[in-house]
């Protein structure tokens, strides 16, 4: 038989591996900075660039896209070549993928602290960067599929299916969620508004978890776990079911992020049902992983790499049991907006993604450098300190989530709110926030130990840049076996067909969510009194977006008595039709703001923004003194009004050529007068004026409506 000799590219694997470690340290440090500010706001050093609202997206982006992203590429570039018995399709595309991806991350690390953000969770980057992401992702996908097409192994192992699903689905998600109208360089408004924007965002957000944090890592699990244990996966049959069931169901479950919001009930129920069904494939996968180790537990005890793997797979099981639980409406009514969600995602991030990445890195480095791991003992320390860190993180977050959730809902015997002052429920959980920061610090310390260990390992060996291998090309392999194929065998031998089917599966799920979206569009009742934002309010809203207030404040009062008592009338779909983007938020570190308009005098907001503790003693909201001094940039107004008009906000034609500026100036004066009533002297052209105008508008349109009705 004619056998070809070829070389695996290990240099690219090493590059991604190093980037993984570097970004792990950066991303987690940003996390600790954010966590610290939650009990000690001064930790932002009075710098606007690192206040909580801006550091939080920096942290999530760095951990998800930089750490896990590079980790995923590390594992894929290593395993794919070997599973395909082929070098990567194109060296150019490999390096384009590496430099492109990491340049995007650097761009994120610069723009997010500067306040350039779309405010949509895990999709915060502005449009030029979004375009770059699409280009790099396409390069990766071509490289992936190209390698698969020129493979020398006829069959596609299950790990490869997971990689394909990842590549195509992330592309689809990214494109649909990023559709927006530029309003200048680094500023845009999504084409969707309100409830539609929310639905698309969480269709994306949920599936980013599914197809960025889960499927690629399942692929890695199916490759590296058998490798490390030196035994084949427990059941290949189960892995087939795991794959198809998972990719088919995951996509449908997005609405569970919007339970009890203004999203229509049926969409919520559909999201809930499919979320609960997700347990089945997820647990199938977890058991498949753990059972692969049956009879090898002695090995697990000795090998830190396997220990990390076991905890990772177990954490996957815990997170995928908890996720569906949180999607049950009654549980969600308690858990949503609390730290319970934070605990949940960190079980996944620290346990599943983190530990699996560490495991792969410990396994890879000795092989890339043809040597032994520098210190198994140090790796063991890392394991235990990491586990401890996880415990210190997750347990306090559960405690604080449940505590605060219950406090919000607590009524006295006489039917009054037990804790009418929101701040009281915050002060109660501050000790938990402190413990959580300790947990994060321990976890990071473990990563530093790993960095040292891997560095020393690299030093003790020499990089095997090109690894030689031999295999016959597909054309020279006997095909008789193919004649008696079974459907799946046929399918995985045909990568193009396979990819098409995968796209079909995720598109069906996508359509199930998107079609209702258009039904909603034609069915959102317009409330006559709901009007577009005035120019000043619009710029104020953009400041709200820039500062990341949405990271701590929701704007969605759910229809519970505990919420309507506290905040006011519950939120209606029709109130958000001009909200590009929606700002419902997902976490209430501070109170809901949807009905804050006219709740306080202007001067209260002025003082509160300058120093929250002056009005709310003990508050952990960061002070925003720079809003009082920075001048409002009104030059951007025409571009923004035009962009919003293009996406459907009914500003009159030509409004931006003079009238808007006049309206803006007159409203500025109104706010200044309002402030002077509270003995605050402020200049009209400051940013704070716009922000106050926006805050005072929030949720008031509907109050106007009831006033007119009452007057009639």
């Amino acid at each position: 038989m004619n056998v070809e000799t070829f070389r695996y590219d290990n240099k690219i694997v090493r590059a991604f591996a190093i980037a993984t470690v570097v970004w792990a340290v950066v991303g987690m440090s940003a996390g600790i900075l954010a966590a610290t500010q939650l009990f000690w706001p001064e930790a932002n050093l009075a710098l606007q660039y690192i206040t909580f609202g801006r550091v939080r997206p920096l942290h999530t982006n760095a951990v998800i896209f930089a750490f896990v992203g590079n980790g995923m590429f590390t594992g894929i570039y290593y395993s794919l070549q070997r599973l395909c018995k082929a070098r990567m399709f194109s060296d150019f595309l490999s390096w384009f993928n590496f430099w492109g991806w990491n340049a995007i991350i650097v761009a994120a690390a610069i723009t997010l602290p500067l306040g350039f953000t779309t405010s949509k969770e895990y999709a915060e980057l502005e449009w030029p960067i979004d375009i770059a992401i699409a280009v790099v992702w396409v390069a990766f996908t071509i490289n992936l599929l190209g390698t698969i097409l020129k493979r020398r192994e006829r069959h596609m192992y299950v790990a490869i299916w997971f990689y394909i699903a990842t590549a195509v689905t992330v592309a689809v998600l990214h494109i649909f969620n990023s559709l927006s109208m530029p309003a200048g360089f680094l500023k845009s408004y999504p084409v969707y508004a309100g409830v539609q924007d929310a639905l698309v965002q969480w269709w994306y957000g949920h599936n980013a978890v599914a197809f960025f944090l889960t499927t690629p890592y399942l692929g890695l699990m199916y490759y590296f776990l058998p490798k490390a244990a030196n035994r084949p996966v427990f059941s290949y049959r189960l892995s087939i079911i795991h794959f198809w069931a998972l990719i088919f169901v995951y996509i449908w479950a997005g609405p569970h992020h919007l339970l009890y919001t203004a999203l229509p009930d049926w969409a919520q129920s559909l999201g809930m049902v499919f979320s609960v069904m997700l347990v089945a494939p997820s647990w199938g996968g977890m058991l498949n992983g753990l059972l692969t180790l049956r009879g090898a537990w002695d090995k697990v005890r000795q090998d830190p790499m396997l220990k990390f793997m076991v905890v990772a797979v177990t954490a996957y099981g815990m997170a995928t049991l908890e996720g569906p639980t949180l999607a049950i409406k009654s549980v969600n009514s308690l858990s949503h907006y609390t730290d319970w969600t934070i605990a949940h995602v960190h079980t996944g991030a620290l346990g599943w993604n983190g530990f699996l990445t560490f495991s792969v890195l410990y396994w890879l480095f000795p092989r890339l450098y043809n040597t032994k791991l520098w210190s198994t003992k140090l790796a063991n320390y890392h394991f235990w300190i990491g586990l401890l860190g996880m415990m210190f993180y997750v347990v306090p977050m559960y405690t604080s989530g449940v505590t605060q959730g219950l406090m919000w809902k607590q009524f006295t015997d006489d039917g009054f709110m037990q804790y009418p002052n929101f701040l009281e429920t915050v002060l109660q959980i501050l000790p938990m926030y402190q413990l959580r920061a300790v947990g994060g610090l321990l976890y990071l310390a473990g990563v530093v130990l790993m960095a040292v260990n891997l560095y020393q390992t690299a030093r003790s060996g020499k990089l095997v840049e090109e690894e030689e291998a031999k295999a016959a090309p597909l054309s020279a392999q006997p095909v008789h076996e193919e004649k008696k194929y079974r459907p799946h065998r046929f399918l995985e031998a045909k990568p193009v067909l396979f990819t098409a089917l995968t796209i079909l599966a995720i598109l069906i799920g996508g359509l199930v969510e998107i079609v209702p979206l258009y039904l909603i569009k034609s069915n959102v009742p317009t409330i006559a009194s709901v009007k577009p934002y005035t120019p000043l309010e619009l710029l104020g809203r953009d400041i709200y977006i820039r500062e990341g207030c949405v990271g701590c404040h929701s704007q969605m009062v759910r229809p519970f008595r505990s919420e309507t008592e506290r905040y006011g009338d519950y939120s209606k779909v029709g109130e958000f039709i001009y909200d590009h983007p929606f700002l419902w938020g997902s976490k209430r570190t501070g109170p809901d703001l949807h009905r804050v308009g006219r709740k306080y005098p202007d001067a209260w907001h002025y003082n509160h923004m300058e120093d929250p503790r002056s009005t709310s003693p003990g508050s952990v909201m960061p002070p925003y003194p720079w809003l009082l001094t920075q001048t409002l940039d009104t030059n951007v107004l025409p571009a923004r009004i035009k962009a919003l008009r293009k996406v459907g906000v009914p500003y009159p034609d030509g409004y931006e050529n003079g009238d808007a500026q006049k309206d803006l100036a007159s409203q500025q004066r109104d706010v200044v007068v309002g402030l002077s009533l509270g003995e605050v002297n402020a200049k009209p052209d400051r940013e704070i004026i716009a922000l106050i105008a926006y805050l005072q508008r929030l949720g008031t349109d509907i109050k106007n409506q009831s006033q007119t009705i009452a007057a009639q």
Binding site: P226, R237, D265, L270
Partner: protein, 67 residues
Amino acid sequence: MIKNVLTHIGGIGLYGIVSICLFFAVFVGVLIWALTLKKGYLNSMRQLPLEDDSRLDAADTTPSRDE
């Protein structure tokens, strides 16, 4: 009021049922498919990740294969 309007969009009940049926059809299909696969094929597939680099087994941090 608004909520009522939305819950009564025409055909939405059917929509939910159709999507769940669709899901079950696909799921059952995959199940049958997987169950009819031949043992020999499944075993050869399981071995795929273990076949590749034998050269570097010396670097293995785990004790050697015990099967």
